[in-house]
Symmetry: C2
Subunit: 336 residues, 2 copies
Amino acid sequence: MNKQRYTLNDVAQRAGVSYQTVSRVVNNHPSVAAATRARVQNIIQELGYHPNKVAQSLVANQSNTLAILTFAMSYYGPTQMVVNIERAAKELGYDLIFSNLQEPSYEELRKTLGSLSGRRVDGIISISPVVGVSYEEMVSLCGNTPLVQIDPQMGLEVPSVIVDQHYGSQLATEHLIQLGHERFAEISGPLNWFGAIARHQQWLATLQHAGLTPMMSVEGDWSAKSGYDAARRLLQADPGFTALAVGNDQMALGAIYALHEANLRVPDDISVVGFDDIPETAFFQPPLTTIRQDFSRLGAMGVKYLQELIENPDTPIQQHIIVPRLIVRQSATAAR
Amino acid sequence: MNKQRYTLNDVAQRAGVSYQTVSRVVNNHPSVAAATRARVQNIIQELGYHPNKVAQSLVANQSNTLAILTFAMSYYGPTQMVVNIERAAKELGYDLIFSNLQEPSYEELRKTLGSLSGRRVDGIISISPVVGVSYEEMVSLCGNTPLVQIDPQMGLEVPSVIVDQHYGSQLATEHLIQLGHERFAEISGPLNWFGAIARHQQWLATLQHAGLTPMMSVEGDWSAKSGYDAARRLLQADPGFTALAVGNDQMALGAIYALHEANLRVPDDISVVGFDDIPETAFFQPPLTTIRQDFSRLGAMGVKYLQELIENPDTPIQQHIIVPRLIVRQSATAAR
DNA sequence: ACGCTTTTTGTGAGCGTTCACATTTATTGT
DNA sequence: ACAATAAATGTGAACGCTCACAAAAAGCGT
């Protein structure tokens, strides 16, 4: 239990060399005699010396730290992204500062980004799936700290990594159409989330494209409870639908429960498709047909892109797209 | 878009004062004339100046940063803890460095803690529910950085916040006993997790205490899939049990699915209780009777305790206990 | 053994802050 | 209007490190 905290100088004195020599040893500079190096290294070991990264950061004016900003860590998607981003960041030698905003207000964001800027983080990765803060605002608050957005509004000319929600939603809806359904309902995610908007719009568009008319749509908040409530509202409004697209798997779970409660059978009476492919999904009753997003790939791409931006600020602005895919299980079947 | 990064001196020059005066303004020292203060503040605003926290940390020899160490962020419990700890930390003005270890090896840990120590984090909070690294090792690697453990082995004399897993398991098992069951099976979590061990042991102990003999127990890995597999193995070994205690809710979901597949009805044929009370649990079929742990309280307590330890290293070693409680839903009923 | 190059080591300055003082300016009582 | 006091501001040093040099030690050809 080393009570003390040692410095370059402490090591240097004990080794009978100057602090600079120790610095060289620590940083593997070539021009230090083998004998000296060994001696110094022993003392470093012995003392348990670790270079003070704060001081290093000060002189280098960079911190080897990335910040990750999230808005709603309670959900499966964001959580997965965080974990995968951490993994990718560590592999590239970055530490991660983790900041979860309670609400996407400008004031909160200003405070947080100010603090991060003061901390001299090298780059920021923002999981910003929520309407409320514009990209321009974020950029101006970030100053010249590179910023990569995960899952922001599509079509924006900003560095980002995006799951093609439109395509995912299309996949889900087309699957239902191909099964011969004609009466479509939807439980969407909260419509201040870009992803929820995209999925909703594409549900509409895909139906329209097929010459079908959507019956109704109800908004949930991603939670199973809200899915349950939404399904009940749907049933009450018009129990005649046979195909139900749900914004995520948790809401689908709640919805299936509500359907079951109403003595409707899934998929025999009503076909359901979810979104996300959370691991539990295969054990729903029935196992849920859903859309899978590759979060690990997304995290890795986000961090890699951010690193490029850090090392070369002239890296062109890109929108890396992650393509989701349909996972067919048993919750959707041919229309009666 | 401020391309430059400003310093105290930049502000000072523009305001026609010395850097020290600016520093005073920034830190709200009283002894600066109102007029000067206003002038300086304007310029700060204008320039978008943020004090360099790296430099501040260097002189203060503390970073206002806490580190959180996790070992398995994929599960609901740890994730909840992280989010809640972040919230609590931010409320106390700390930033959070997030480190997820892929595996609890000594080498990984040494590297990570060394890096954190170099970063001069003020304290470390370790979610260490996994056997494999001893407390002594961790402490010695932490040097004199305060360390609070979340959910480590119970009974250890280390600063920690612990959910009383024994009690939770007892609650679950007693509930089943009171319902008149006599033939007990269990699906435990991975037995290199302290929590899983505690729950398993207490299941055994509670049955024994009631004069009942446990039939069998199978080990899962927390995932729904493993719960499904475990239940099938149980059924194959001896389908005669009527009460099933499961180590967490995800595995319970998988288990219920397996039971259902085997044409056994929950709870009519077999009663099931879970552990964790994840939000989806209320919409399982049937809604799951389970044990709730208050993660938000746990996070807050952990951070608060860590802060005490930071501010006063002589704070006595305590083990804060979080008491779980039974949430009765519909998956367990009276024995036939 | 000499000056030459090359290797190895040491020195001074500075990164952006804060602290402990020293200094200047404003305020006040008589 | 004067010193005495209080308020406001400025200066030097330090935190632990890295950079750009300067200096010393070693190697080497003749």
